[in-house]
Symmetry: D2
Subunit: 239 residues, 4 copies
């Protein structure tokens, strides 16, 4: 072995040591990650309804209590709702507010403002662009190995005979989400359909608020409980 070849050999040895060290660290991190993965981090990504969901009687708080009562401890439920958000607002803040938080599952619940703001500010979202941004969010989350669950927008007004001003439009956007769920084979909690059924059965006076909501949009206690239960039915099936 010449000096030159010896040096080369030494260098290779050094490099191999580094490589083994690196592999060790990666394995260790991977192991730690596995341990941590046993607690699933779920981010609820949405608008003011979700922003209110982390309040004492909010649907996320109620879901936490439900899980605690059932002795389920391996879920970390986190709210990421901001009032007035539409689908493109979610897309813009997803890197910081969601992906940087390394969730295992993201539950997307958006759409009310995309429809509602058409008539209140003239700043709703076109249906084709709603779909485009919605799919872009899913694509990015899946690229980051995050599981995704979808929810249709519940109600704007609680009348049960399709006479709330936005009923047609909201149903149209709910249908867009149903179609996306089908195409992408993603779990869906169809609150739009579930709320309608509940209203038909329980809102016999056909009032426009006060059954599951405070104001036709934001959940009251009954609404928060109903939503917590319905979301959990779908969420618990996600492995």
């Amino acid at each position: 072995m010449t000096t030159k070849s010896k040096n080369v050999y030494m260098n290779i040895t050094n490099k191999l040591i580094w490589i083994f060290l690196f592999i060790g660290v990666v394995l260790l991190m991977s192991f730690l990650r596995d341990t941590k993965a046993k607690s699933k981090k779920v981010i609820f990504f949405g608008d003011s309804i979700t922003q209110m969901g982390v309040q004492p009687n909010g649907y996320i708080s109620i879901m936490k209590e439900m899980l605690a009562q059932q002795g389920i401890t391996d879920y970390d439920l986190v709210g990421a709702g901001i009032g007035g958000n539409k689908v493109y607002d979610l897309y813009l803040r997803m890197p910081d507010n969601v992906i940087a938080q390394s969730p295992d599952i993201v539950v997307i619940w958006i759409g009310v403002n995309d429809v509602w703001h058409k008539s209140t500010y003239g700043t709703g979202t076109d249906p084709d662009k709603f779909e485009k941004f919605y799919r872009a969010i899913i694509k990015q989350l899946q690229a980051d190995k995050i599981k995704v669950m979808l929810i249709t927008p519940a109600v704007i007004g609680e009348k049960n005979d399709y006479s709330n001003q936005q009923d047609g439009d909201l149903n149209k956007y709910a249908q867009i989400i149903r179609n996306i769920a089908k195409d992408t084979d993603l779990p869906l909690c169809d609150l739009h359909a579930l709320f309608h059924l509940y209203e038909v059965n329980n809102n016999t006076a056909n009032v426009d608020k006060g059954v599951l909501t405070l104001d036709g949009v934001h959940l009251n206690d009954a609404g928060n409980k109903f939503v917590a239960e319905e979301i959990w039915k779908v969420l618990k099936e996600i492995q």
Copy 2:
């Protein structure tokens, strides 16, 4: 009899002749009017759908043919539709376009633009003002001894699952008209309900136009025929 009293007497005689002549003419006119009244003048008062109703295949033209085929000759069907009209446009032009034409019956068919123009121009009609003008039209027509028949707005989009953008709002305005018909005990042709039923049964592909309309709003041949038949069912009962 003095000359003076004679002159007075002569004057009175002259006046009486004129008075009798006047009464005679009035009676004659009244008699002619009775004869004419046997032909009921019906004015269809509405928007572009009614404006197109007098065209060769329009619903008013079809109704005329239907009546002719059935040997019914005592109806004079007249179109008074203007494109883009909302309820307050009807109110404004009612004196000239309707009352001055001395109809026996006025069929009011309005509401599509009151809802539609909210999203296309920002110039729809608030529901409370829609009702206020609608009732004002009825009140004025009834004050002029004209019979009134009401029609609910048919459709903006033909999808049968309440997913056309304006479905909720249009249904809300149809409900306003139903309530007015109830309150005022006026005959109603509920095309909004009839179209929905037809779409559920016949629009199996759930398309948004082409079943009863050309474009989701204006009637195609099938639509004109359907409307002619449904309106006639109610109209013929008005004595």
Copy 3:
């Protein structure tokens, strides 16, 4: 004179007495009316700005004080403003709220909601229909021998560099009123132009409210004073 002719004569005499009595009353009323006419009844016909105009610091109240201080006693200033009113609301309630009150002069101040409600509710007024109803109001008032004065809508937002959202549209509707004033040769108080000039000179910080308004639309104390003075300048010239 026979009994018959005597009776006829008596009847005629009776009738003449009644006729003279009637003429007398009419003359008396006409005389009283002349006396009363010395006090000109002015109705301010408008929206919430005018509704607030009769409040203690409102522009109508201030104008009354101004006149009292100047010893002018022959004006009866009456407010007829209703919040949310657009031009067609004025037309609908004109018979009861204005004409039945027998005013000498009507000051029409409308237009803010016709523009504003486009973006807040989707229920503004199309420019062509704004003009049509505006002219119909004038025509009816003039048919009833009532003098008419016009006012352009002041502001929606007080920024002075044409950067308030509705600046373009409001200016367009102000221009419609200016054109009507020209066509009909009616006195005009162009508050839209006067407010702009005032803002350019006094709103140096270019704020959007707080200079002449409380909220960008409804007058503050300075605004009520400014409006009272500007309207009076035009109103006093109407004979």
Copy 4:
């Protein structure tokens, strides 16, 4: 030298050859890139106005001809406009349509639809979100070492007296862009101000289209020439 150490040596030699080859290629590419970098790639990023800008008489085509006539050959002008785009559409397609194309300079011209679609579809963009997405686009481009130039939206209607419906709102959004340009110290072509000046001086009949545009928004020949010249004045100063 053992066979083993020889093999190692050979492998290392082979690897070194590959490494040198790789370095050579990288250097060559880097050299070519330097050469190519002398030709500045400019992407015009916008809506239908820019989409039409690459047509034979479009402003980008005209700018190319202008540069050719002046013997300027080191610019590569590329259109990336899509009809109906608002600021958030640019953000969504920026990775593929702009960054992946490795431009040296991106000229952002957006805003007309963000304002216009408020009244035509109820789907405009709120001013705060307009600013948020606008700044996010700039931030991302700058993170990728791309130079950025800003343009204010020109006109929606050519009337020169601030009586086009959207004048106030468009001016407001132009002001947002002016403020961003100031904050970020980026070059700005203020077409909104330049168009207004041009209209005041040249649109003496105060028509709403036909001076610099075909329809109040999209450029006619005079408009394309005007825009090409004004953009170039700012663009040529960017080093």
